[in-house]
């Protein structure tokens, strides 16, 4: 395990932002620390980076204590902040070359700039970049030291579609060459696309963790969309299983999808003269799993 967090608590005055949290990030895997804004993700990542002192708990990153062995860790760790991190008048090329030189690991700055797709913006200053371009510069800086572990805070936030593809490709390539990636995100769909493991946060606590395939594979359901006025008691009677209105005309039958179940529901809708606007009977998404675990609350 590249990152091991045990019984971590972070407090800001009387506010407990992270409450006795434990989790692990496997070596070479992409682990997403997931949860809504204010769930404690960034505080947790900052402790792992060595920027924040925990109230209690033990943290090991590549076997090092991020606070007391920060100097050693900086040679092995890449960090992408949630925003900022570059002086507004600094040029893209200058700042990336400077960071590559500071690490002194002979990372080719020009290749790195090309990798993040900013070759045409090499002479632009930070303040003239779009939000997505700034994110790509930040990612390049995180990779300037050829790190063994990278912490990425909301890496695709504010990034356009092409930029997202670039960032996803880079994250995948990092994982393939054995770099451990830990990223914080509130975007569950995005997280599911890039990560293999997840740590789900809610109100400063970890409510679940593990391989995303395991977290989302626990429960199957049949979900469809129709009008918003269906009587769920009647629907449940027709389906032979409990039925819930999820809102906006989306209904969920709490049973494993099967041709028999789908047949019963669609036949009942036809008999009632109700439309069938969409059907979703695949494995639940990470967002579904999160809602199930939190009882619908975020």
């Amino acid at each position: 395990m590249s990152v091991v967090v045990e019984n971590l608590t972070v407090r800001y005055g009387s506010l407990t932002a992270v409450d006795n949290v434990s989790f692990e990030a496997p070596t070479g895997a992409v682990t997403v620390v997931l949860g809504p804004n204010g769930a404690g993700k960034t505080s947790t990542i900052e402790v792992c980076e060595g920027f924040r002192e925990p109230a209690q708990g033990t943290i090991q990153v590549l076997g090092l204590d991020p606070r007391t062995q920060h100097a050693q860790l900086t040679h092995l760790m890449g960090v992408m902040l949630q925003g900022g991190g570059v002086y507004p008048s600094a040029r893209v090329g200058d700042v990336i070359r400077h960071f590559c030189a500071l690490y002194g690991k002979k990372v080719d700055a020009a290749a790195l700039i090309e990798q993040v797709g900013l070759t045409s913006r090499v002479k632009s200053t930070w303040r003239r970049l779009s939000g997505g371009e700034q994110q790509r510069v930040s990612l390049a800086l995180a990779l300037a030291g050829d790190p063994k572990v990278v912490f990425l805070d909301e890496p695709t936030s504010g990034v356009d579609i092409d930029g997202r593809d670039t960032i996803r490709d880079i994250i995948a390539a990092l994982s393939q060459r054995g770099t451990t990636v830990v990223l914080a995100s509130h975007d569950m769909a995005e997280a599911e696309r890039v990560a293999s493991h997840a740590v789900l946060f809610q109100e400063g606590r970890v409510i679940a963790q593990g391989a995303i395939a395991d977290l989302t594979g626990v429960r199957k359901r049949f979900r469809f969309t129709s009008v918003a006025t269906i009587d769920t008691t009647e629907l449940a009677g027709a389906a032979g299983s409990p039925a819930h209105h999820m809102g906006d005309g989306v209904y969920e039958i709490a049973a494993e999808s099967s041709p028999r179940l789908v047949g019963r529901v669609t036949q009942w809708l036809a008999e009632q003269g109700l439309p069938l606007l969409s059907v979703d009977m695949g494995q639940e998404s990470l967002e579904d799993a999160y809602r199930r675990m939190t009882g619908g609350r975020r």
Partner: protein
């Protein structure tokens, strides 16, 4: 050592890109020198006015650049998360502090290269023959004020830091014998001011450039500030 020079180069590149700030750093002392050098309004006591003024303005320039400019810029670097980002690299706090002090020293060489010839044109006649000591005074003053500026910038929020740097600047300017002679101050204030870095620098520059006035006491005062302030700044500096 290599990282210090890499960071120094980056700091100087940023300074060069902020040309307007660099210009301001040069213009204000020039205006001070030209105005007070032409209009006899300062109570310079028994000292020849320009002998009092030129080293004093040089000291003001050093304090402005190394404490206020550096301190405010560093405060904003904190708010832009530049410091936090640098904190995740192998650049240590002390390497960053040294690089910043050296970058200020380079700017001050430029200031001296502009101010001293203007002083000579106005009729200043430096009688001192201790130029190496004067350069040492500039370096000690730079380290002292940069240390003080970075102590504030290393802990305070950008807006509070901005106010604190300017407030301290005004206090040191008025009490430090740079423009107003310390003899003009009430006795207890004059005594207290004798241990300020601004007093140490102004007095040391006058004695080394003019060849008159106390040498050892301001040297000791400034050396103590130069040793302690950067060390405290590096120790207490927070990346975020």
């Amino acid at each position: 050592m290599k990282r210090i020079f890499l960071q120094l180069r980056a700091e100087l590149m940023l300074l060069a890109r902020n040309g307007e700030q660099l210009l301001l750093t040069l213009i204000i002392p020039v205006i001070l020198l030209a105005f007070f050098g032409s209009v006899d309004v300062l109570p310079s006591g028994d000292t020849e006015p320009l002998n009092f003024l030129v080293p004093g303005v040089l000291a003001v320039a050093i304090m402005s650049t190394s404490m206020v400019s550096l301190g405010i810029a560093t405060g904003f670097e904190r708010s832009y998360l530049v410091l936090k980002r640098l904190g995740a690299t192998p650049l240590s706090k002390s390497q960053l502090v040294i690089a910043k002090i050296l970058s200020v020293f380079v700017v001050e060489l430029l200031q001296a290269a502009v101010l001293l010839p203007i002083g000579l044109l106005l009729g200043w006649n430096p009688a001192g023959n201790t130029w190496p000591l004067a350069i040492a005074a500039v370096f000690l003053g730079t380290a002292s004020f940069a240390g003080v500026g970075l102590i504030l910038a290393g802990r305070l929020r950008a807006e509070i830091n901005l106010a604190a740097q300017n407030g301290l600047y005004l206090l040191l300017l008025l009490l430090g014998g740079m423009i107003i002679p310390r003899d003009s101050l009430p006795g207890f204030l004059s005594t207290a001011a004798s241990v300020l870095p601004s007093t140490g620098l102004a007095d040391l520059l006058r004695s080394t450039l003019n060849g008159s006035g106390p040498l050892m006491q301001p040297f000791i005062v400034l050396a103590v500030w130069a040793a302690l302030a950067p060390a405290i700044a590096a120790k207490r500096f927070r990346w975020s």
